[in-house]
């Protein structure tokens, strides 16, 4: 009896669908993850709740950068 490869076709289609859904799920997961601070100084800013380079917390950041 000849080899029946019908099920291989169905598996192929199933793998394609599952793989595509997985890739999309990975992108969504990656986007939801909070981005790590780019530099140490950014991290300090984030921790101190400082908006950006203006005002409070600046000396602390500079101290860390030079330290």
């Amino acid at each position: 009896m000849a080899f029946d490869w019908t099920w291989l076709l169905l598996f192929d289609a199933a793998f394609l669908v599952v793989g595509a859904i997985l890739i999309v799920a990975m992108v969504i997961r990656e986007r939801r993850k909070p981005k790590p601070p780019a530099t140490c100084a950014d991290g300090m800013r984030q921790k101190a709740g400082v908006g950006d380079q203006h005002g409070a917390g600046q000396s602390e950041i500079e101290e860390h950068e030079h330290g």
Partner: protein, 462 residues
């Protein structure tokens, strides 16, 4: 199930929901922070996005693959699949990491860094004409004609404008995020088609009983020469601007290499679905036009909701390629043909690239309308010209052998060899018709590279 291919209200809703979603994505990611962010998504492309974007971009015309499967059988998997996997593997293992580390932005810029400014300018011209997506614009027009009974130009105008709008608004980020949506839709569409073909028409027995015997052999009814030509054509991947663009944008060399390897896995699965889709079309509708038999079969066997998904998948596959090609074309204009000066700000560069997206899309649309009947021959010659001219200088240069002058000489040799042979074929000279123009082009390019490359070494020894 419907017997005709005219659109139902579900198809209308699905196609316009898809179009609206792509525009919304373009608008959503439109916040750009500088030129690198707009042109290369901040060079932070992660693995899943890399894979989804590359897989969908590479597949532009599903009907083209199913047509070859309809005519030549399983051999189309060899010529349209297996040879290409070899080329992707070479790209992944030998070029991807080098490109991701290079810090360049475009293929011509990379060639310029390897072989000098003349080579860069020549590469930019060849690359631009290679990426103008004429054939894919025509797919949009034909699809709208079949589904909505619109004139071809209207389909090109509506869907081409949507692709250009979101690409120009959101830059490369919009291209890759819409690619991801298109990737999902394409996979769902072709997989549904196979599942329904197997369950409604039958499995292996159905195909074995109804197909010509050579359609289930891997070599099929193609001549050895035809197969060898396809093997060389597959190597044109080594200068595919979309592969380069994604490698430049990858967050790390590892992502570039692994991304291509995972993409190969998806291409294998996808190719099996489209090849067997073409075979089912041949078995079920043997006297139908090969270029539309797959679409007709979709209309016959898929239930209403899934049929709409199938049409969206076909549209998505063409649009994912059009957006990427238009964007690469735009970057060729803004970065290579009219390179930014020291005074050019990031804002100017972004503005110039946006204009380039519209210009490339408009050029593709106009050419698709003008050459709708004979575009295939022109498109094939332009593709061969670009591949024959750039393949060896790019690959050998990246692998470390870049003697002065050899790259430019090989590009001129490759382009003139291809053009000359194409002219002979156009004059219907019998011996020229036996060989595709790409082969003499690549051979001449190789000769030029070796001769010019070895001369300075000999002089130095003397």
């Amino acid at each position: 199930m419907r017997s005709s291919m005219t659109a139902s209200s579900t198809d209308f809703i699905a196609l316009f929901a898809y179009a609206a979603l792509t525009l919304w994505i373009g608008h959503r990611v439109a916040k750009n922070e500088g030129a690198d962010d707009f042109l290369l998504a901040g060079r932070s492309l992660g693995l899943p996005l890399f894979v989804g974007s590359l897989v969908s971009t590479w597949y532009g015309a599903i009907f083209g693959v199913t047509e070859i499967a309809f005519k030549h059988g399983l051999a189309s998997w060899l010529t349209q699949g297996i040879f290409w996997y070899g080329a992707y593997l070479i790209f992944a293992f030998f070029l991807a990491s080098r490109l991701a580390q290079s810090g360049h932005r475009t293929l011509p810029e990379q060639i310029g860094a390897l072989h000098g400014e003349n080579a860069r300018f020549f590469a930019a011209i060849l690359n631009y004409f290679n990426v103008v997506p004429i054939a894919y614009m025509l797919v949009l027009g034909k699809l709208a004609e079949v589904l909505f009974s619109w004139p071809v130009w209207l389909g090109i105008l509506v869907f081409g404008a949507i692709a250009a709008l979101y690409s120009a608004a959101g830059g490369f980020k919009a291209v890759i995020y819409t690619d991801l949506l298109q990737f999902l839709l394409m996979c769902l569409g072709v997989a549904a088609m196979i599942v329904y073909a197997v369950t409604r028409l039958g499995g292996a027995d159905f195909l074995q009983n109804r197909l010509p015997a050579d359609h289930l052999s891997l070599l099929g009814n193609m001549s050895v020469q035809e197969i060898v030509v396809w093997a060389v054509v597959a190597l044109s991947t080594l200068v595919d601007p979309n592969f380069y663009h994604r490698c430049f944008a990858a967050a790390s060399p590892r992502i570039a290499r692994n991304g291509i390897l995972i993409a190969i896995f998806f291409w294998v699965l996808f190719d099996v679905c489209t090849t067997f889709g073409g075979l089912y079309a041949r078995a079920a509708l043997p006297f139908w036009n090969p270029s539309s038999a797959y679409a007709v079969l979709g209309g016959l066997i898929l239930p209403a909701g899934l049929e709409s998904l199938f049409w969206v998948a076909i549209l998505a596959s063409a649009m994912s390629t059009i957006d990427s090609y238009c964007f690469v074309g735009a970057m060729t204009i803004s970065v290579d043909l009219f390179p930014p000066s020291k005074e050019t700000t990031d804002r100017d560069l972004v503005r110039k690239t946006r204009a380039g997206v519209f210009l490339t899309a408009a050029l593709a649309a106009v050419l698709a309308m003008i050459f709708s009947g004979s575009f295939k021959a022109i498109w094939k010659t332009l593709g061969s010209l670009s591949a024959a001219a750039m393949m060896l200088p790019a690959a050998l240069g990246l692998l470390g052998w870049r003697p002065p002058g050899a790259g430019f000489a090989a590009m001129v040799g490759g382009a003139s060899g291809t053009l000359g042979w194409a002219a002979l074929r156009a004059m219907s000279i019998p011996w020229a018709l036996k060989l595709e123009a790409l082969m003499p082009g690549v051979s001449l390019s190789l000769c030029c590279y070796i001769i010019v490359g070895l001369v300075p070494e000999r002089k130095a020894r003397e």
